[in-house]
């Protein structure tokens, strides 16, 4: 396939500057779409939907029918890995994820190899979506980053992560072991996804906030680096996007040290910082405020234009700085995608 016939997302991730950036949105599938809400009413449990390839493929494709997004991202959850390693996981209505007690490290270590098999249905979802998706639209696989996943495993639920950050100070050796297990399981999971049809991979560090630099190096930069190295060592050469959300100024340390192809930026990232990353050889992705997307209006258009003008000349993937909020009007998503793509 000639370079210009490649999906726009892959060209941007390869470092090409394009007439317009590719665009997709984190959480473009899911609760903001009425067709998802309708499906969910009949489908029942969230995890059932994640593990049913037919249903998960349908959910992945729903936003692709509605909007001219340049990429789909597989419908799954960052907490499937702890479950595959033996920690109980359930979703209480209106409460978000809940996890059972943290299993012994030795027990989880013994489950690493089997964990990838337990996630085989996610591979099946990817194969189905890849078969259904137009060739010019790319398919992204993903996993939660070890630190973010560990915060849920340690705290048992969504939280302000202060329990996990305290654990990082008080039990550094145990945390390092837990992160190592997650690095292994996550690397295998991502390799499996690439084999099943994912053309790019994304590592979601959703909770990189408030970590002191030395802890950030240990729990974010180290594990991300090892994942990329292990995925590459397995012969997988699809581009990898790292997203240390909330890393503040530490995103520059991240971009310098982690051998990802692209770095996701959150809504706070300064324009000049993104430009420095581009000059340093990274594609950047982000960073429209999801609250502004939901609010809409002329301020939304102005900010979209600013991001396009400031970052569009470097390798850039247009995206949000966080996921689409459930009550985001469809018309606002259309407004932005139209502005970016001209479609």
């Amino acid at each position: 396939m000639s370079s210009s016939a490649q999906p726009l997302l892959l060209r941007a991730l390869a470092g090409e500057t394009l007439p317009r950036p590719p665009v997709w949105f984190m959480r473009q599938a899911g609760r903001s779409l009425p067709e998802y809400r309708a499906l969910r009413e009949t489908a029942g449990d969230f995890l059932t939907m994640c593990f049913n390839p037919e249903m998960a493929a349908e959910i992945t494709l729903q936003p692709m029918r509605r909007f001219p997004f340049d990429a789909a991202i597989v419908f799954a959850d960052i907490l499937l890995i702890p479950q595959a390693l033996g920690q109980d996981l359930w979703f209480a209505a209106g409460e978000g994820p809940r996890l059972g007690p943290l299993p012994a490290l030795a027990s989880m270590r013994g489950e690493i190899e089997a964990s990838t098999g337990r996630l085989a249905s996610i591979g099946e979802t990817l194969s189905r979506v890849r078969a259904a998706l137009e060739p010019e639209r790319a398919l992204i696989g993903f996993a939660g980053a070890p630190w973010t996943v560990a915060t849920y495993m340690i705290e048992g639920r969504s939280s302000d992560r202060s329990g996990a950050r305290t654990y990082a100070h008080q039990h550094p050796a145990e945390l390092d072991q837990l992160l190592d297990i997650l690095v292994e399981a996550t690397s295998r999971y991502l390799v499996m996804q690439a084999g099943a049809g994912a053309q790019a991979l994304k590592i979601f560090e959703s909770w990189a906030e408030q970590l002191p630099e030395d802890v950030f190096e240990r729990v974010v930069i180290g594990p991300h680096t090892r994942i990329v190295e292990q995925v590459r060592a397995a012969g997988v050469d699809v581009p990898i996007i790292g997203f240390p959300r909330g890393a503040g100024a530490l995103v520059e340390n991240y971009a310098e040290k982690v051998p990802v192809n692209a770095v996701g930026l959150d809504a706070q990232a300064p324009i000049a910082l993104g430009q420095r990353l581009q000059k340093g050889g990274k594609t950047i992705q982000g960073a429209l405020d999801n609250l502004l997307l939901r609010a809409g209006g002329p301020a939304l258009d102005r900010r979209v234009d600013q991001l396009l003008e400031s970052w569009g000349r470097g390798p850039y993937v247009f995206n949000l700085g966080h996921g689409v909020l459930p009550d985001t009007p469809i018309a606002h998503i259309e407004q932005v995608v139209r502005r970016v793509t001209g479609k």
Copy 2:
């Protein structure tokens, strides 16, 4: 008074590099101290304590008796200003602050001049503390920054600030007017505090997180700049510390544009970033993780040493990146203060 007889804090804020940095902790007074908890049991309401100069002076001095801190900070609250402007304020047990409906802008504008008089008891607290405090120990006055105070005024309570950030996108003109009112009231309040004995002033922007750069410029950098200008225009020349907590990489924009003498850094601030601010002529203050202070142990000593070695050669004030947590062991505070001061 010769320079070397000046309180260490003031020398550091004037840009001097010292044999050791001065040290104080945000929330050094308050719930982490048993003598505060005992007083609170008899004193009743939190606001009563803020507005009683005898009691507030006692609380301000409590940590000064226990620890060789180089500075005291007046016991007060960042939400006294909205109350003085006419918005109801109360503290529900275990729930934090609660505020009544936002008064009309015109009504609050009419209260600006009177608001400073309603806060006169804070000046009385400062005078009492200054009279009681040894001359080599400095006294700091403070106010909440307009954006942070506005988030409480808009949302009515502690929150994730997404309501206020949405308001910033949807009602920029109204927000600008509210911030202008707060700039006026805050400037007068700080001028009053300097007149009453505060030798340094601090502007607490506790919630600078997750603001896109253009919004940050508008709601943080602009109002802080105007406050410093107005305080200076009133003839007050005490040093001013600005603390945009959670500003991430945007703290560099802040340091470049806001004419404060010193910039507070949170626990996430990279070492190199602090050094850049020092080279740019700012004193920096921070940034020990309050969770690490609470956790204690050798990791705490190592991090204290790292901060001293990395930042101690520029103008530096040793502090936390956020307030002392209520359940922080006294022994850990002693451990750090001893390590910094040698006392």
